[in-house]
């Protein structure tokens, strides 16, 4: 409990690691996740650190593994250098194989194009002239029109171009996409024209092939090409098989390698944070370590030294320090959710009171006050229970869906919220906007004895005997659900409830600050800060709560005409005007004046008490000749002034802020009622047998809207407002939340770029 209430006690320790066993010792510490390393070389940038080369190698290995290129199953030692050499060899080999494959594919493409060209040009009509020369080749289909136009413009009719499209799609070696090509045949005469034509062909990236002069030559060439193509196909096939085999073998061990590389990189990063001692033989590391874990730390170092076979063991030394240690709060799977929502506001200072153990109950309770519906609470609790019972199911734990992960991480919070909602739903007597009548209502219509045929609306009068028989024992009377002035009663009840709960919650927060003052030995704060704060809060708002209870207990229906408005009395208290209205009780004016005077007096005590006391302390010791840290009165006074103003104004605004408990519960109840009246009742009112069939889709709609609007939307809304009440109204009474979280060096906490790429 001490840990969850306050955080662990931490100490600064120095580790002396022998150079040979440093790697293994840090490996052990990484497995255990005990300590946080401090940077002993803060002035050095990343490129000047000692192990920067090893880290570069690790990053390259990660890159290679990321490209899915891997190693043969060669035996490698744990030595990081060995592993790296294997990686490099593998990369070279696979690079070669891939390049060869590309060359072969290019070759294949050329031969295929040549074959197509020969086949297509056979059908072209030829002009058998001695003078004309032929150029033949292939060009991409998209470029053929531009090519033709260019040829015409440049050569002006001294060339004849015939072309035909190839039916198959050929793979373009540069982009790898299938493209359509066109076979063309140019016949021209004259040398200059020839050069121009060749230049144009170059420009348009045509693949030119020699044109056979006679038919026999053509058939020979075609035969030759066919054999070569067949051979190439076989070779390519074999290369593919080889590549597949290699990759299959290595893929079996890729996960272990990825983890190994991750760990290696982390260890070298930590080694970079250490510094050498004077003799240059020993590595010194400074760590933050929980005091209770020092024996475990010692054992880990011994284990590491033993594994590396060092003769001189590494050891740990605790050193005193004035720096503030980071905050460590140990949590289990239940408390971690609540600790997370507290930490989201701010991690606590070292050994400051942690609001989390109280948040476990007050947060779901305040949520339930705003959510308060029995039926919805049951659904929420069942959903959370399902998540909790199946929490070890891998599929639920390891999805990539961010939103689901958020809900899953908070499954215990949702379970508590659901359970409390069931209770508050019972008290509000609200189950899917209907009330339960378990004990029998306290109001009786029969006793009213009114003319039921005549009256349109009947208001039950509690003054008539027998009409009101006593308060409903568990919550709100079910008759209010049937009444048209329901909201008048409920609003008054819920507003007063919100104020009562708010003042109690805030007082609890103020009282928690005493823990801090006592722990940090600031007894003067107890009298000069805590006491004025508490008096201010209780004299004003505590008295308001008292008046609410007093009115509830003392004023009955008989004096309903004289029933005072509490708000008017409260305002009059400040204005010191007690004459206009009837006093609530004898001596009220005197008591109220007394309370206001105390509250007003506590403000200057709060404002000046602490700075003046500290100034007096500082001056007193100065006279005794002791050395003290320079005390800045102005700074301290300003700080205290801001605190006083914030607190006093905050008391008023925060009390009003708790009225959101009323507002949200009203909104939820109204939404629930609208859904029932507009959706479900329509289905239930149909009398015909058709109504049975009609009810099925109506219920479906009702269920979908209940879950999406009332559970998800209202749930999120109430969650947010309950969180705000905790973060602002409760925590600003005692919590500063400006600490640093303890991040131990642990392999399980390392982020991995592989996880983002989906490889792990």
């Amino acid at each position: 409990m001490c840990s969850l209430l306050r955080g662990e006690e931490m100490c600064l320790a120095q580790l002396f690691l022998q150079s040979g066993s440093a790697y293994d010792c840090i490996n052990e510490l990484g497995e255990l996740g005990l300590v946080e390393f401090r940077d002993l070389n803060p002035g050095v940038n990343a490129f000047q650190r000692k192990h920067v080369n090893e880290i570069k190698k690790c990053e390259e290995m990660e890159r290679i593994l990321g490209k899915d290129i891997l190693i043969f199953n060669i035996q490698y030692g744990n030595n990081p250098i060995c592993l790296f050499i294997e990686f490099k060899l593998l990369e070279v080999e696979l690079g070669e194989v891939t390049r060869n494959k590309e060359k072969l594919q290019r070759n294949l493409l050329e031969l295929t194009e040549y074959t197509h060209m020969l086949r297509t040009t056979r059908n072209f009509v030829q002009r058998t002239s001695e003078v004309s020369v032929f150029i033949s080749g292939l060009i991409q289909r998209t470029k053929i029109e531009a090519f033709e136009r260019m040829l015409w413009r440049v050569c002006k009719g001294y060339t004849i171009l015939s072309y035909a499209e190839v039916e198959e799609y050929l793979e373009d070696p540069d982009t790898g996409e299938p493209t359509k090509s066109v076979v063309f045949l140019i016949s021209y005469w004259g040398d200059q024209i020839g050069q121009k034509v060749k230049k144009i062909c170059d420009c348009y990236h045509c693949h030119l092939y020699p044109y056979p002069s006679s038919n026999e030559e053509r058939t020979d060439v075609v035969e030759g090409l066919r054999t070569r193509i067949q051979d190439l196909h076989t070779v390519l096939h074999r290369t593919d098989d080889y590549l597949k085999q290699v990759l299959m073998k290595a893929s079996e061990s890729v996960y272990t390698w990825v983890i190994q590389v991750k760990k290696m990189k982390a260890i070298y990063f930590i080694l970079n944070l250490c510094s050498f001692d004077v003799t240059n033989k020993c590595l010194i590391a400074e760590v933050w370590c929980p005091v209770n874990d020092i024996p475990t730390l010692r054992r880990a170092l011994e284990e590491g030294s033993r594994k590396s076979g060092a003769t001189v063991p590494s050891f740990v030394n605790r050193i005193p320090t004035n720096d503030t240690p980071p905050t460590l709060i140990r949590t289990n799977k239940f408390t971690s959710g609540f600790q997370n929502i507290v930490d989201a506001y701010g991690v606590g200072n070292y050994r400051e009171v942690n609001p989390a153990p109280f948040t476990i109950i007050t947060f779901p309770f305040l949520f339930a006050v705003m959510f308060g519906d029995l039926g919805h609470g049951v659904i929420m609790a069942l959903f959370a229970l399902w998540m909790v019972l199946y929490e070890n199911n891998r599929k639920l734990k390891n999805t990539r869906n961010e939103i689901w992960n958020t809900f899953f991480e908070g499954r215990y919070i949702i379970l508590m919220m659901g359970l409390f909602s069931i209770y508050t739903g019972l008290i509000y007597n609200d189950c899917f906007s209907k009330s339960l009548n378990i004990f029998g209502s306290g109001w009786s219509v029969k006793a009213m004895d009114a003319d039921i045929r005549g009256n349109r609306v009947l208001t039950l009068d509690p003054n008539v005997t027998g009409v009101f028989r006593g308060p409903y024992p568990l919550g709100i009377d079910p008759i209010w659900n049937l009444a048209s002035n329901r909201l008048t009663f409920l609003n008054s009840y819920k507003m007063k409830m919100s104020v009562i709960l708010g003042v109690i919650h805030m007082s609890f927060g103020v009282i928690l600050s005493t823990y801090n003052y006592l722990h940090f030995r600031k007894k003067h704060s107890l009298y000069l800060v805590f006491l004025p704060e508490l008096l201010f809060l209780l004299c004003l708002f505590g008295y308001l709560v008292f008046m609410i209870f007093y009115k509830w207990l003392v004023f009955t229906a008989k004096d309903s005409r004289l029933a005072p408005s509490i708000l008017i009395h409260f305002i009059n208290m400040f204005l010191m005007q007690g004459d206009g209205v009837q006093p609530l009780y004898p001596g009220q004016t005197g008591l109220q004046v007394f309370l206001v005077v105390i509250a007003v007096l506590s403000v200057p005590v709060l404002l000046l008490g602490k700075p003046v006391y500290l100034y007096w302390l500082h001056n007193g010791s100065h006279r005794l000749g002791m050395y003290r840290v320079r005390f800045d009165f102005a700074d301290e006074f300003l700080h205290q002034a801001i605190h006083t103003i914030e607190y006093c104004l905050g008391c008023v605004s925060n009390t009003a802020s708790y009225l959101r408990l009323w507002a949200l519960s009203l909104a939820h109840a109204q939404l629930s009622e609208v859904l029932w009246t507009m959706v479900m009742r329509v289905g239930l009112r149909m009398d015909t047998s058709l109504g049975v069939f009609f009810l099925v889709p109506v219920f479906g709609l009702f269920a979908v809207l209940t879950v999406s609007i009332l559970l998800v939307m209202e749930g999120l809304s109430a969650f947010l407002h309950a969180l705000r009440l905790h973060w602002v109204e409760f925590q600003n009474k005692f919590y500063s939340g400006t600490g640093v979280k303890f991040c131990p060096f642990s392999f399980s906490l390392l982020p991995s770029s592989f996880e983002h790429d989906g490889l792990l």
Partner: protein
Amino acid sequence: MAELGFVIAMSVMTLFWGIIGGVVPWFIPKGPNRGVIVTMLVLTAVCCYLFWLIAILAQLNPLFGPSLSTDTIWYLNYHWP
């Protein structure tokens, strides 16, 4: 009669939440989680009891009664005691 009902309800609830908040914590076995569990029990008892208390005190001395429509009056007249 009405008083009796109120007294019974008051004592039952006070006893119930009093046991949960005041007696059960003594029986929680010693362990690392004892502190958290005790805090949870006490806070639950306080919150729930207070919430119920506010609800019943608000209805103890009602200053006005519910307004019912004709259909409701007719039904309640014959079906509720």
